[in-house]
Symmetry: C2
Subunit: 222 residues, 2 copies
DNA sequence: GTCTATAGGAGGATAGAC
DNA sequence: GTCTATCCTCCTATAGAC
């Protein structure tokens, strides 16, 4: 009986607040994906969430913090996906190939890449400000964001090294280069180009990008 | 004697004007490469060129036209590069391989990709506004820009089809997908990532991106 | 055509009532 | 905490003298 009282107790008010902030970050995430940080306006966010702009500033002190919260949430989502994948065995992976057990690390990397492409096509992948944006500083100063990025990098990095040892990824490439290449695929403009051309379905786009990413543009040499 | 008078005559004044506009587009190109269209301000351009902002607006009617002129110039530079390459034979290409004559088209594509990566690392490749920017509309309405884009696409497209027929590019990929993939490499964020990590020289970065682009991340299957 | 000075507007952030 | 109304800064664009 008393044990229940020991559980972290969230008041109804707190729950409502968290739900609201979740709705906010979801909208921000969508807008970040659609137009990027600079083009996104706080007025748009307020309009999409359905509250006044001043109310937004009660939750977040600046536009940067607003975007940062959304990206932290996206990062944690990625972290959860990776950690779940990390505990799976070869039999669990839908991407399983005949020699699945020996290419488990590669399969996990491919599954992750496919997942990020799906997110991107669904408009839920916020575009990084690779430019000198004010957002960069805020992100780099955010412990939750940097911690998440670190965790994600370490999980992926382990799989990369493993896949290279398995003989499935090019051992001549530094692991860091492979890691960055996979990160880059999450904001690859080729997806937008192909999407805009309207010549292919989302699934076809994913397959083509997966092919060019892992197999390259060259014809197979055999 | 009179023949000289028939030549298109450029007054000294006109030459000065063209020189100034060339200096302007060069600065704009650098700034577009560094920070992108939205983050670039007209004040910065004026300061870098060394003239007053109002003077800029005598040359160009808007920030969009300013950027458009710079991108048209960059596009024409690319066009000149490709047309020059188009007339070369296998012996001319520095990238020549033992079976150079049969992989001429592939070599041209690789030389072009390498060239764009060099431009990007040198800070001379303006980043496309893949987002819904006001610049997009201006570019799409610009005949010089669209004509240049068309020419470039056709030259590259012909090489792509040829390389597929030669058995050097994956024939399962639609040529348009390969074309867009090469365009995307010109604004690939992986270059910034690797550059920022400061772990590799520009040449090493180019080699790694070339490898992942054409050979993929996978180890060779043989 | 080049300058200085300024209009005009968009957007981030806040004041103060409820 | 939510609202309406407003402030203030930055930036595009222009007016007008030279």
């Amino acid at each position: 009986m008393t044990a229940l009282k020991e559980l972290p107790k969230k008041s109804f008010k707190t729950q409502m607040l968290e739900a609201r902030e979740l709705a906010i970050t979801a909208s921000v995430n969508r807008l970040l994906s659609e137009k990027g940080f600079d083009a996104m306006t706080v007025d748009e966010v307020a309009a999409e969430v359905g509250i006044a702009k001043a109310s937004l500033y009660k939750h977040f002190n600046s536009k940067e913090e607003l975007a940062c919260a959304a990206m932290v949430q996206a990062m944690q989502k990625a972290q959860a996906f990776l950690e779940n994948l990390d505990q799976q065995t070869g039999a669990d992976l839908s991407q399983a190939t005949p020699n699945a057990s020996s290419s488990l690390a590669l399969n996990k990397l491919m599954a992750t890449t496919r997942w990020t492409l799906e997110l991107k096509l669904a408009g839920q992948m916020p575009t990084l400000p690779s430019q000198n944006s004010s957002l960069r500083a805020t992100l780099m100063a955010s412990r939750p964001y940097m911690d998440g990025l670190m965790q994600v990098s370490e999980l992926l990095g382990a799989w990369i090294v493993q896949a290279q040892q398995d003989g499935h990824l090019n051992p001549a490439l530094p692991p860091i280069a492979i890691l960055y290449t996979l990160f880059a695929r999450a904001c690859d403009p080729v997806v937008e180009f192909l999407k805009m051309s309207a010549l292919h379905s989302d699934d076809e786009i994913i397959e083509m990008v997966m092919t060019t990413c892992f197999a390259g543009l060259n014809a197979r040499q055999n």
